[in-house]
């Protein structure tokens, strides 16, 4: 064996940790713009993001981070939900005992259940507020119509997720909320009774319903939701990033564009000799272009002065901060408030009043006035209107600004819809006592 082979083997061995590391992470922590760009698109998780993002999209006061919060809450729900599945049994004789076990014997059981419950409520709220943000900033206008439609479906799936999860503890609250909720569904003309029967697997809420809701809750709906979320995210980029006012693009750039994408064989992306040296390994075989945004008026990457910044670190740090705030919020709430658990199911003794989950109390309040119109007619019209909004209101004015003057009428109508629904929920939650009679909470 020659000494040369030995020394080369030795060198490989010494370089082993670094080689393994670099085989996983292609780029060192970026110090140049080229590095920042390639880090973004060579990492599986980061390549979902554009290499550069417009400053306007990073404004916390514009997005309020609501879409991210919704997604991170979903992430927390998946993690805590999978953990809870290790101890849960979807059986009418065991489910409630398992809840008591979570509270009494399972390590962190009560805490995980709290996190799951509060994150679920939070997600319903966050998704709804996200929809409000998108509407009030006119962000559903072309070319983003279809992403709004996906968003409406995401809201519906989120509600259904939360609703199916409500039954699983098999306590009085769960049983009667689902009895009331599925009865609302049965008011639908023609198919209502059938829908209720298929949903419950029986004529009343029982073992079949528990099993069905469990399967929907842990398998079917998360899969549907994940798919819709993936398309929703993908469309954000294909539709040209987050919405922003048109004048944002004509503002002079604060810093000159640092990335040049040239047509032809030569690729010049580095701005300094040092960066060029660092970029050397990337250049020889392939041409890396910054993937510009797709649609006409939004394509601004290139030699045009722009107000975009690199996603690394600007966007990623912002996302990390939102993630940490979301996790911290859920942890703190879960520390101080326990998820409710009432008496085990007693089919003979409905509580008075029997209430649906809070986000359906507006619906239940409506149902108390008119069964069909409150429970089916009006909600159907509302969902249809929400789906059609971007196809009715197509004029591209006031996009990317909160409460744009040009959109006074649209915003007024939407806010009316929001306020009426919130009011109905508040009345149903706090102002309805025994026999659904008006009571004062004070």
């Amino acid at each position: 064996m020659s000494s040369q082979t030995t020394s080369s083997s030795w060198k490989s061995l010494v370089a082993l940790p670094e080689n393994i590391w670099r085989s996983i992470f292609r780029n060192p922590l970026p110090s140049s713009d080229l590095g920042r760009a390639s880090t973004s698109f060579t990492n599986f998780f980061l390549h979902l993001h554009p290499v550069k993002v417009h400053r306007h999209s990073l404004k916390a006061t514009f997005t309020l981070g609501l879409g991210l919060i919704s997604f991170f809450l979903f992430f927390i729900l998946v993690v805590t939900g999978i953990l809870l599945m290790f101890y849960y049994v979807p059986s009418t004789t065991q489910a409630y005992d398992r809840m008591l076990d979570l509270r009494g014997t399972v390590a962190f059981g009560i805490f995980l259940r709290n996190m799951h419950r509060w994150a679920a409520h939070g997600m319903v709220a966050a998704v709804f507020l996200h929809m409000c943000r998108v509407f009030l900033t006119g962000s559903y206008k072309p070319p983003r119509e279809f992403n709004w439609v996906l968003g409406v479906f995401l809201l519906l799936v989120t509600l259904f997720m939360s609703f199916t999860g409500y039954l699983l503890p098999w306590d009085q609250l769960a049983f009667w909320a689902i009895t009331v909720g599925t009865s609302i569904a049965s008011y639908a003309p023609l198919v209502g009774k059938q829908v209720k029967f298929i949903l419950l697997g029986d004529t009343t809420v029982g073992q079949e319903a528990l099993l069905r809701f469990y399967v929907l809750h842990v398998a079917v709906l998360p899969a549907v939701l994940s798919l819709l979320v993936a398309i929703h995210f993908w469309r954000i980029r294909k539709d040209g990033g987050l919405s922003r006012p048109e004048e944002e693009d004509s503002l002079p750039a604060e810093t000159p564009a640092t990335v040049e994408v040239l047509q032809g064989p030569a690729v010049v992306m580095a701005t300094s000799p040092a960066a060029a040296a660092a970029a050397a390994p990337l250049i020889p075989k392939r041409h890396y272009g910054i993937q510009g945004l797709v649609r006409g008026p939004f394509t601004k990457v290139g030699n045009v002065p722009d107000r975009s910044v690199f996603s690394w670190p600007n966007l990623f740090m912002a996302e990390l901060v939102v993630f940490l705030i979301t996790v911290a919020g859920v942890l703190i709430v879960s520390l101080f408030f326990n998820a409710p658990l009432e008496q085990p199911v007693n089919v003979m003794h409905p509580p008075n009043p029997a209430k649906a989950p809070w986000y359906f109390l507006g619906l239940q309040e409506q149902v108390s006035y008119s069964a069909f119109w409150g429970g089916v007619g009006i909600p159907t019209i509302e969902v249809l209107l929400l789906l059609l909004v971007p196809y009715i209101d197509r004029k591209i004015v006031g996009v990317g600004r909160w409460f744009a003057r040009e959109r006074l009428l649209a915003n007024f109508l939407f806010l009316t819809f929001v306020i009426v629904n919130v009011l109905l929920i508040v009345i149903g939650t706090f102002f309805r006592g025994p026999n659904w009679e008006f009571v004062s909470p004070w």
Partner: protein, 161 residues
Amino acid sequence: MKAPVKPAIEESGDALTRRRMLSWFSGFGLFGSLIITAFSNLIFIKPRATYGQPNRFSIGKPEEFPSGARVSLDERRVCIVREGDKIAAISTTCTHLGCIVSVSETGFACPCHGSRYDQDGNVTGGPAPRALPWYQVRLAPNGEIEVDKDAEIEAGSYLRV
């Protein structure tokens, strides 16, 4: 590169070429299979047998219900009414949102949202949208009364025993 010359028949557009016809057939087949699959799944998840309370059940001999009795069988969600030699079964599932109504002085009352019904199950107050349904009652060969919750009958139709 020179574009391949298209045959004249395709250029005419409306003509039904073999290719177009085959595309239509395959498209129809694929789409049809999709619909059949979706429909089969729907049939699959709609249970043929339920494992909970049976909808047709025996409630005992007529003698167990003296005249004037209004016995609410909560587990069966049905109230057995007897007047003289007439017997009937009225649902105790509230038509509003599915709670169990209890027998009251004037008929039935729902504890959940305050719906009230008269002796025959007609709505007298509260949010209930419809009267309580009446179920078919018949005398089984063994002399017991059988209630069939799958068969709703007209209110006021009794079984004579």
